[in-house]
Amino acid sequence: MIFIAVFTSSTVGLKWFKGTATSAMEDANFDNFFLPVLTIALYGMGYIARMTRASMTEVMTAQYIRTARLKGVNFSNIVIKHALRNALIAPFTVILLQVPWLLNGVVIVETLFNYKGFGWTLVQAAGNNDIELLLAVSVVSVVVVLLTQLISDIGYVFLNPRIRIS
């Protein structure tokens, strides 16, 4: 548990420490792509891990978990089949919320590593008063947001069949 806590907070710090600029625009290989990807991945990983843990500990105290244990189902089966699906609502939301954030919010990381990605384009367009580019970028992000949120709504019904979304 403490490990996860340390892990999360250190990723927050880590984000700033790997201050080496890499231009991986032309050929992306392991060397120049490792650090930026690692930074973003670690941040999301800690966040999602903690969310999952929070709802998991709650679900594991439920009656049906005890019943399953008394029935003699082995532990990994309980965790994966019985508990995880009920605990996944909040983490699932967070995971799909990460996608729009990865599109727009990682400008810092992109600037840090000098990688000219989507967020960078956006900042440039805003800085240069380039309305057409701005519109195009916005359309892309709107489509992505709508898609991910649609997926998350469908996912809720899959995770808990009793949920009804009109």
Binding site: T8, S10, S55, G119, L122
Partner: protein, 395 residues
Amino acid sequence: MEPLGFGDIVIRILAQFLPVWISLVVLFVLSFAYKRRLGLYGKLFDSPIGMVGFALVMFWVFTGIYAGFDMIATHDPLAQLSGMKNKLPGTPLSDAPDGVLPWYLLGGDNLARDVFSRMVHGATIVIAIAPLATLFAFMVGITLGLPAGYYGGRLDTFLSFLANLILAFPVILLFYLLVTPEIVLTGLPQFMAAVLFFFPLIFFAVLIHSRYRTQPKKDWIWLTIVLVPLFLFYAAAINMRGSKIGFWPLDFFDIPPGILVVFVAVVFVNSPTVFRIVRGLTMDIKTRDYVAAAQTRGETPWYIMLWEILPNARGPLIVDFCLRIGYTTILLGTLGFFGLGLPPESPDWGSTINEGRKLLSIYLHPALPPALALLSLVLGLNLLADGLREESLRD
């Protein structure tokens, strides 16, 4: 004057934090003594993890408060003293003015300012803005997310549409828009503040009323106790002389416009995410048996939402809250990174880390203290969240 050794630096820093240590000890002794009478807060002292987290968080809170009264910092965080550029920790000042400590305890940054004082003063800004902004975002998210998840249908479609709209709106662009002088002149940030800051009032009003609906006397007492001060704060916060909203007579404090913009923007950006999380949890918990039981008892929908569903969704929400505070701190720094929001010389941790990062490979010391401070604060918040969640789930 000799440069200080490592041990000397540590001892002097610990000595500078003396008021903080004293308050921490007093707080802990008092809390231990009255542990059983303090409810959830007292129960926190049963779990070692929660205690460590609480100590870490309170350490920075006290530091922030005392630094606001000029107590801990050794120098002016904005003063530049000659000959101190990028000097190592413990370097003595060349010509120290009277009455100040003749060393830079943690060295000087690239503009010859004291790193230690900047870190301490940064705590004030971080403690003042980040938790409060996160709290407001949560109020907005919860007040809108609960009915969206509970009622579903048209309301849900409409609110989700709004949330998606904000989510799709690029964060950086929003900040660019909000700090533009023309936009500030139209009073848009203030109107946004007027709307966003109103949500806590709604939240508490509904929270209390749904609970004491059947006992009008208690209802009125509680509503007055909570809502009157809240409303005074609300009115004073959005009110500013010489701007669009300036009619309220009881204006006892003014928020600087720069900070207001940052605050509003952070709340605005964070609330749709919270909204989605709360909505998802509500839709899940709504299908549980105890909600059906409450419906059968004839409880009002708001009672079910706020007193049945919300407490059962607290686990993920507490964790998200604490993580979000850390994220908000970084977001504040990010804004400084693009020259938006807080003024560039502001000593808050995010900006300082950004500045120090540029010279990281040559001079490590300017970036390290604020980074460690941020790290310990986030770690403390995480531990506190764990402790709180565990203790609150125990009964």
